[in-house]
Every structure is written in C-alpha cells, then in structure tokens.
Symmetry: C2
Subunit: 332 residues, 2 copies
C-alpha cells in the first residue's frame, strides 16, 4: 500500500471512520494512481477497493494500485460499507440521499488535507507542468488576435507534452484585461496583454499569469502589483496563517489607494486540481505547511482602462521557493 | 423575463417551491445568459436575482438578463430565501448542510428537465459547434502521433471559433482504440484511428466520434456498429422510451455476438453540458420528446485488438434528424 493511502487510512481511524466513499476523480487519482474517465467509486477501508465502470476497466487495470472490481449500479456500493462512513464534502445531494438512513455518515476532507502537502514526486510533476507552460509561452509570437494567441499557446503546450490546458486559457488584452477571467476574443491584441494559463503533466497542473505592459501608467500599476506579490511571497513560511498572506498583499495595494480594485483572493493551492487547499484568502483559517504548493497572484483591475495580475507558483520549504523561471516583467 | 426563465418559475409554482437556489454554472447560463467563471448564485423567485462574485461583476453586468447583485459570503444567500426552497441534485453536501435546519429543502431537477428540450436558437448554436468540429477534422492531415493529431484538431477548432474543446479530445489508434476514453499518446497513429471530439459555440457543445478503419476485420466490426447505430436512429421519435433506443442498438450488436463488447450506454443529451438529459441507457425511465438533441454512439471494443465507435448528433423532430454532415465512413 502506498504511503499516501496509508496516511489517509490512518486519518480515518483517528476520526473513527470505518469506511470512506471517495468519488472525486482527483481524490481517486491521488490514492490509486488511476484517474477515472467516468463515474468510479473508491472504497477506503483496511482493504481498499476501486469500483470502476466497465468503460474504465481495461485502462484502470493497468494503472490502479488498489484492487479493482467492476460495478454496475450505485446501490452495489452498500455491500462494501460497514460501520461509520466518511463522505467527501463534494458529494452531491442526490448521492447523499441514497445513503442517508442506511448508514451513519460523516463529511470529512481528510483526502484534500493530505493532498495539500506534496511529495517530492508530486512537486516534480508540478514543476514539469510549469516548465511546459513557460516554454510554450516563450515560443509565442505576440501578434494576431486574442483567440489566435490562446490557440497557439494551447497547441504549443500539447506538443510540449501537456495533457491539456489546466483551465480555460485567459488572454485578455487592452481594456478587456480589467476582466480577471476574460475569455479570448477576435480582437487584435493590444497592451496590456494579460495571459493566465497552465499545463497538465501526469494529471498535475501549473497556473501562472503574466501581463505584458507598454505605457507608463501600466508600468506604475504593474510595479504596485509586483511589490504586493513580492512582499507576500517573502512572508510565506510554515506556521503562518494563509489569511495573513492575503492581508499582506492587500495592504500593499491598499496603501497605494487601489484596495477596491483588488477583487479576488491572493492565491490557492495547485496540484491535481487547479484550485485546491490551502486558500490564501481573507477568511481562511488554515496554517501554511512545508511542501505545500500555492500561487501568489495579486491584481489591480481598473474598469474601462486595464488590469494587471502577476501570478507565480511557490513551493513552501523553510521559506518560499518560486518555481517559475520566467521573470514577471516580460517584453517581446 | 425570457421564456425559459418563465417556464422554470412556473414549474416551481407547480411543485410548490417558493424560491430556488441555482449553483450549477450551466443552469445559471441557461436562465440568465451569463456563464459565471467563479461561484455565483442564482435565486429563482418571482423577482429572480443573480448574486455574482466581485470577480465576475463587470462581465456579468453586460450579459445577465437577471438583476445582478454582488455577494460576499454564502450566508448572505439566506436573506433572499423564503418559504419552501428548491435545490439542485448536484448541490454538494457542504452547502446542503449550511442550509439544513433553517429551511425546508426539496431537491428538484426542473432546470435540467427544461434544458433537455432545445429552443431553435439553442439548436442553431449546437449546429454551429458541430459545424466547427467537423470542418476542423476535415482540415487535418492524418499523420504524426496521436498527440499531434489532437493538438492540431484542437487548434483548428479554436481558430474556427470554438471557445474550447467541449471535452478532452480522444485520439486512440491501433490497439488503444479498444479504450473507449483513451487519451492521446506519443505513438504514431495507426489504424483504426478513433477520434471523439467536440467544439463549443456560445457555451453550447458538439460531440461526435469517427473511427477511420483499414483492414477487413475492422470493416466487418465497423459495419455492425453502423447497423446498430442506424437502426437505433431510425427508431427515435417523440414518445419512445430512452431505454428502448439503447435496447435496439444493443440487440443488433448482440445478434452478431458482440454484446459483451458494447460496454457503455447508447447516447446522451448534449447542450450546455456535454452529458445532460436524456440518457439513452438501459435503466433510464425517461421518454424522448420533440426538440431534444442526443448522441447515438454504439461501439464494439475488442481488448488487445481494436475498438470501433460511431457517434452522431440527432435532433428529434417527428423523426430523428441527423445534424452531422460528415459521413460515418471516412477515408483520407
């Protein structure tokens, strides 16, 4: 049994959970090595079993580290369960209701908590995804439309061994850069060009933003965002509250008078999901730990004018280690 | 108020639901015209309101047909709710628990049921997505590796106005084609080449599979799958049970002795989601209706040898109308 699986089962015992139903594909991938393509169910107990759909059986049998059985209907699951049952917070109400009454159920995020702290192998995969993403950006010609830029970037990532784009690529230029999640249009790119993109390697994601600027006003705002980002990064270390890092970035931007224009949180964990624990946000009560991987991505968005965001990926050791190799201020 | 929104609110009244919480991005898109990029909440009642996150406010204000307010925390939602509350089956347990106790909750899939029957405008968007997907396939050179083919296909779709690939493109060739959801590898493509791909236009998806064959054995299996598909398509009309269409496709394949090798259901609805109501599967109890859009996609998978799947998109009128323009048997 692999180390992570063992740890999670130990956590179950500590919480007096006898069996746990795992449905989230990323959690199944984390614990079995196999990422299901259709509904599969991992039953965690002392002898875990992966119930795969027929459609996944052949692929799963070559990849799953956990014993495999084929299941037909959700109700079959009940035969594998005993005692107090752990369920994920992400389980949907429809499934929850099928189990309620028959079992004592307890929601738990022990798998997500385990996933927040990365193994050396996981960090290597994240670094590889990031390396693909950055290489693919640097191969771009910065001309044409936003859509053409996004298409070429995604093509480059694929050819450079990314399994897919880790999320919908954002290329938002000119005044559209004030939309934090602006999707690419057929407009010719103009400055600033905000690009938020990522690759996936072995199911692990990267997530980075670069904004390419031109005017003095853009540079002024860029430097404020950069200062906020660098100050936040320097404050990262094990034992610090996640919310404190958000505070620190926000204070810098607020001091310059742009507090209201920083309209999202400062960062988030990245791994098998593009957003996972921890959350670097105001209301998060978590504490940063060694070997977490997080983004730090403050931004200033001036509606009708432009927006700037700078996002790097950080591995937490005794201090923050920036995983990105490309500098924040790019010019082409 | 648009027609769909009005219909859904009428359905709520019929079920004695006073307010409904809509969280699924596709459902919000369907009822407001705006697809949120981060967590947003639509409250359905006689005066519906869309609670958008700050990050989406600017974009939503230009697109939402429903009054917009910015929300900060989930608990703010409670101020908008009254009486018996409808919730989606897809709501997660974490959110469900925040509401339990304070409100009488009832799960309902009235939005998904409404979505299954498409308006003329929705069909036009689906047709446009399909047209982009097919054009992009025909522009391909069928050489290189599976990954190169997938990369080029996705690039073509982007350039031809697709917002993204509607799901992870499947290019599975040679013996890998026996994996119904085989992801592309760095192997040079060999026959058969199974490609399952789709485009997205105005948030509406297409979904098609073509398998390009070479040998006589492949052609023999191809013809069985095609016969199953055509027989199933001919049986589609309003009033027929979804499960009956699955039965019909399965019977043809079973008669030729390959019943055990058809390891998935026959089809599914497509629209704002790649899999939505109805499901053309054995245990589905639904009835087909006019203006539904479904896939019909039987397959035979011979482990260690190869697999064949043929998937077209069907608009249900008095009979089935095939939306695809490319023929099932392609050669390049």
């Amino acid at each position: 049994m692999n180390t992570k699986l063992k740890q999670v089962i130990e956590s179950m015992h500590k919480e007096n959970i006898d069996s746990m139903i795992v449905l989230k594909p990323e959690n199944i991938r984390y614990l079995t090595g196999f990422r299901p393509s259709s509904s599969s169910i991992l039953i965690l107990k002392d002898n875990p079993v992966l119930l795969a759909s027929k459609i996944d059986r052949e692929d799963a049998s070559g990849r799953s580290l956990v014993n495999l059985e084929v299941y037909k209907e959700f109700k079959d699951v009940k035969n594998y369960l005993e005692g107090k049952i752990g369920i994920e917070n992400s389980m949907n109400v429809e499934t929850y209701k099928k189990l309620t009454g028959d079992f004592e159920l307890e929601t738990t995020d022990i798998v997500e908590i385990s996933r927040a702290v990365k193994s050396k192998w996981e960090v290597e995969n994240i670094e590889k995804a990031l390396q693909i993403a950055e290489k693919s950006l640097l191969e771009l010609e910065f001309s044409g439309t936003e859509v053409e830029l996004a298409a070429q970037l995604e093509y480059n990532m694929r050819i450079n061994d990314s399994e897919r784009a880790s999320f919908e690529t954002i290329v938002a230029s000119g005044s559209r850069s004030s939309l934090p999640h602006g999707s690419p249009t057929k407009n010719e790119v103009e400055y600033p060009i905000l690009i938020d993109w990522g690759a996936v390697y072995n199911n692990y994601s990267s997530d980075t933003t670069r904004t390419i600027i031109e005017t003095e006003k853009q540079e002024e705002i860029f430097n404020i965002v950069l200062e906020a980002q660098q100050t936040a990064i320097k404050s990262i270390k094990p034992g610090v509250k996640s919310s404190e890092i958000d505070n620190i970035a926000r204070e810098v931007i607020t001091e310059y008078g742009y507090g209201d224009a920083f309209i999202h949180s400062t960062g988030h964990g990245v791994g098998l999901e593009i957003h996972e624990k921890p959350s670097l946000s105001k209301n998060d009560e978590g504490i940063l730990e060694k070997d977490m991987v997080v983004t730090v991505e403050p931004g200033i968005y001036l509606e009708g004018e432009f927006g700037i965001r700078i996002e790097d990926m950080i591995l937490i050791k005794n201090r923050a280690t920036v995983l990105n190799k490309t500098k924040a201020k790019l010019s082409f």
